[in-house]
């Protein structure tokens, strides 16, 4: 393909006039398709079963049944799953961002021979499907006595998210001016002090971006919890929701409330920090 413009006699701007209006309609319809299923979810989470079955899909009952939320929170074990998700996500995010910061500093600011090789290992790590590691990890955690122990989740999340976190941090670290280190060294500052006191605080904003991306991945993670955790009280929301729905098959209101609770933290982060999310996804632009 040549990057050369070619004049085309019939070439009329596709954005002109009525075309533009139609395009808008298509774009807005697409946005509606993305959001409507979630609106429907919110609506049926506020109905009881009878209302779900008898009322139109996009109508709300006279009395919103918020008790669905109360019920699943206290009776359905959802509170326990929620707390587990929060602390496992928080611990993994903190560990990952901290470890990745150390590595990224060494990779971008320090001089050593194996640097390209180590960077390569981390970047290739991003391509490895978690499913291909599942059986040996299961056996490994069993041998270490870590099966059915939330520590195995934190270790796995950290290991698998280090590559993308390093990738997000990398660009920012590379753009830091060399003068910072030079000045610090002149002042007789050691590397540790320089990193922890000067460089790390400067990377606050990119750390937040990396943390948000990590938070989304960890909060949503399913297959590790499903495989490595067997006790109900240790499970996180993704797997807990799955179990819960299996038990309350026909109670749509309860299922809707459970699903809403499980996605609410992510939606809140999205509404508050959507720019950071967009930035992080563009910088990491990997994983699915």
């Amino acid at each position: 393909m040549a990057a050369r413009p070619r004049t085309n006699a019939s070439g009329r701007s596709v954005f002109a006039g009525t075309g533009r209006g139609a395009l808008y309609l298509v774009l807005i319809a697409a946005a509606a398709l993305q959001v409507l299923p979630l609106v429907w979810l919110l609506f049926f989470s506020l109905k009881n079963s009878q209302e779900v079955f008898s009322m139109p899909a996009f109508a709300l009952p006279k009395r919103l049944r918020w008790e669905n939320y109360e019920n699943v929170w206290s009776q359905g074990n959802i509170e326990r799953y929620f707390v587990n998700s929060v602390w496992i996500t928080a611990a993994s995010v903190a560990l990952t961002v901290l470890l990745a910061s150390f590595v990224t500093f060494a990779l971008t600011r320090m001089r050593w021979k194996l640097r390209p090789a180590v960077l390569g290992l981390f970047m290739i790590g991003m391509m490895i499907p978690v499913h291909s590691t599942l059986i040996p990890l299961f056996i490994l955690f069993q041998k270490l006595g870590l099966i059915d122990n939330q520590a195995n989740l934190i270790l796995s999340y950290t290991a698998f998210n280090l590559p993308i976190t390093i990738m997000i941090l990398l660009g920012f670290y590379m753009a830091l001016p060399r003068e910072i280190e030079e000045a610090a060294v002149m002042d007789g500052c050691g590397v540790n002090r320089m990193f922890l006191r000067i460089v790390l605080p400067m990377t606050g904003s990119v750390m937040v971006t990396a943390a948000i991306i990590n938070m989304i991945y960890n909060w949503n993670e399913f297959i590790f919890v499903n495989t490595f955790i067997s006790s109900d009280k240790l499970k996180t929301l993704t797997v807990g929701v799955q179990n819960f729905v299996g038990q309350y098959m026909s109670d749509w209101g309860a299922i809707g409330a459970t699903l809403m609770i499980s996605i609410l933290p992510i939606l809140i982060v999205f509404f508050l920090l959507s720019n950071r999310i967009v930035e992080g996804i563009a910088a990491g632009s990997v994983k699915g």
């Binding site: 946005a31 993305q34 320090m110 050593w112 790590g125 499907p129 056996i139 993704t238």
Partner: protein, 293 residues
């Protein structure tokens, strides 16, 4: 300066904890998966080395091939749909009001867990109370399908939520890449008399070629290893009509405790992902990558 910044002890201290974690949890298991795949093993008893027998079995296993076929179908379809996402991104990156808001709205499903998405779509597809069949009934369709129980349509029914989930992600990446193109290049073309469509196809598209390559790899490899949503929605059913490579591996290993065979499938999955990446890179290789800065 030089000496301080190449202090070996500090480098080891900074890098080794992460590197060991990566090796222990990502790389060593990959090697072990390869090794387990050469054994007959139920995970508890003694391992028996059987060489390539598991792979010979794989070659003759019809269910495995249909699973691999489904994964491949998802991969191809996902790659084809990238063209649509690019079209949307091209439109959004033109001077359109509300583009920022729209691309953020498109992104929402991608942020949610596959499990929540799967549960939601189970409800959407619900044969009697789901909104889809409700809509069809209100349009006068009498024989509404049971979307996830009918082997002939289940794959299509599963692919729709996958599209719904990932569309915004690709649109976002394309949009970011298109916005990165220096305005001077597109302005120059306009001055030379090019219209919007020509600018899009002849100037913008070639300039984001590298990003397109990355997204093709992402879409294909992501689809090849797709698991969560299918596991929750159909568990590979009905009658393995929607089984994919990862779900088949999971069933063999963690339901039938056939760890050796499961590992062989897992290792095969890894190889397929790596080979697919390599092939796509070869097919899309260009001799003179366009530089702009």
């Amino acid at each position: 300066m030089e000496k301080v910044m190449s202090n070996k002890r500090v480098i080891a201290l900074y890098v080794l904890p992460s590197l060991l974690l990566l090796l222990g949890i990502v790389y060593v298991p990959i090697v072990l998966t390869g090794y387990y795949g050469l054994n007959d093993w139920d995970g508890i008893g003694k391992m028996t080395f059987i060489g390539l027998d598991n792979y010979a079995r794989l070659l003759k296993d019809g269910v495995f091939w249909s699973s691999a076929g489904h994964s491949l179908l998802f991969a191809l379809l996902s790659a084809v749909f990238l063209a649509l996402y690019m079209a949307v991104a091209l439109v959004l990156s033109g001077r359109i009001k509300g583009a920022q808001l729209l691309r953020k709205i498109y992104l929402i499903p991608m942020l949610l867990s596959s499990v929540a998405i799967a549960q939601l779509w189970l409800k959407i597809y619900h044969p009697t109370n789901g909104i889809l069949n409700g809509l069809l009934e209100s349009l006068g369709v009498e024989d509404t399908p049971d979307w996830l129980a009918d082997p002939s349509i289940v794959l299509g029914a599963l692919f729709v939520p996958i599209l719904w989930q990932y569309a915004g992600f690709y649109i976002l990446i394309y949009y970011a890449a298109l916005k990165n193109i220096p305005a001077s290049l597109t302005e120059a073309a306009r001055i030379d008399g090019a219209n919007s469509r020509q600018v899009a196809l002849r100037i913008k598209l070639p300039l984001v070629r590298e990003v397109v390559k990355v997204t093709i790899v992402l879409a294909v490899v992501g689809s090849l290893k797709y698991f969560d949503l299918i596991y929750v929605m159909t568990d590979g059913g009905p009658n393995q009509a929607s089984e994919v490579m990862a779900s088949y591996m999971y069933h063999k290993a963690f339901r039938e405790f056939d760890y050796g065979y499961g590992s062989a499938i897992g290792f095969f999955l890894l190889l397929v992902c790596l080979v697919a990446t390599w092939i796509i890179r070869r097919l899309t290789a260009t001799k003179d990558p366009i530089q702009y800065s």
